[in-house]
Symmetry: C2
Subunit: 153 residues, 2 copies
């Protein structure tokens, strides 16, 4: 088990526009409840099955298993529909890695930046394009964007 | 993806009593709905994460992934409680393998025998201790025994 400790922010401007476009990331949920999440994700040729426990503040337990791409393709069909689709950009800044998700489909228009931390209190510097923090706003959880996509806000 | 094609029967007498006792099998469900199932199972030193699709008659899709035992121990705590616990005996008969589950805990007293088939119409011979077929009785699904254990029938 790993601990996922993550903070999430809105994004100012379009800092990804000069970066090479990532493969589209497609993810679906076999289960998305407050207590537990079972996610299937494909990014390019890589596929992952991920289980997450309940959020405890900004911390949650996480178990990740690489699975065959063909399995993931089948499992995405078994997931709640529609899927979440987004482009992910990975942007290093001051020794940390920011992940910037540019959503498409029903969540088009939404862009969020995430940073994964080693501990809850870890400090870090923000790039200029990092805006308001939305870590505690449950609407931005991918599992919630499934049922309440950004286009309906 | 594999197809799980299984028939299930009650058991006459106690055909397992002279067989070596298996390791206890502990299994839990991260999700158990009619549409999909995510199961965690430990048997001895082996642990498995299994995803199943909806039942289509006696056929359902199945994806199985071995996972580290330590992960499975943690994931069982994340599952709906209580867990399903049983002893499994594997009994060869006429070229086929019967799996006989002797439940303990809340399902103590329940014993079922399962046979996995290659196709829905496959014929097979039954050992003398195989009783009434319960394939179509949803009460006997392990995922249902969780919420409606045999002791409450």
């Amino acid at each position: 088990m790993a601990l996922e400790i993550e903070r999430k922010f809105l994004v100012l401007g379009s800092p990804w526009q000069d970066l090479p476009r990532s493969a589209v990331m497609r993810q679906g949920y076999l289960l998305a409840s407050p207590e537990r999440v079972v996610r299937v994700r494909i990014e390019g040729a890589d596929a992952m099955l991920t289980i997450k426990g309940a959020m405890q503040g900004i911390v949650r337990s996480e178990w990740e298993y690489p699975i065959p791409l063909a399995d993931a393709d089948e499992l995405l069909k078994l997931c709640e529909q529609p899927l979440i689709e987004k482009y992910r950009y990975r942007i290093p800044h001051d020794g940390m890695l920011w992940e910037l998700d540019v959503f498409i489909g029903d969540n088009a228009g939404l862009v969020v930046a995430e940073i994964e931390l080693e501990s809850e209190g870890q400090t870090f510097s923000k790039p200029a394009w990092v805006g308001e923090e939305v870590t505690d706003d449950k609407r931005y959880l991918n599992a919630n964007l499934l049922r309440h996509p950004f286009s309906t806000w």
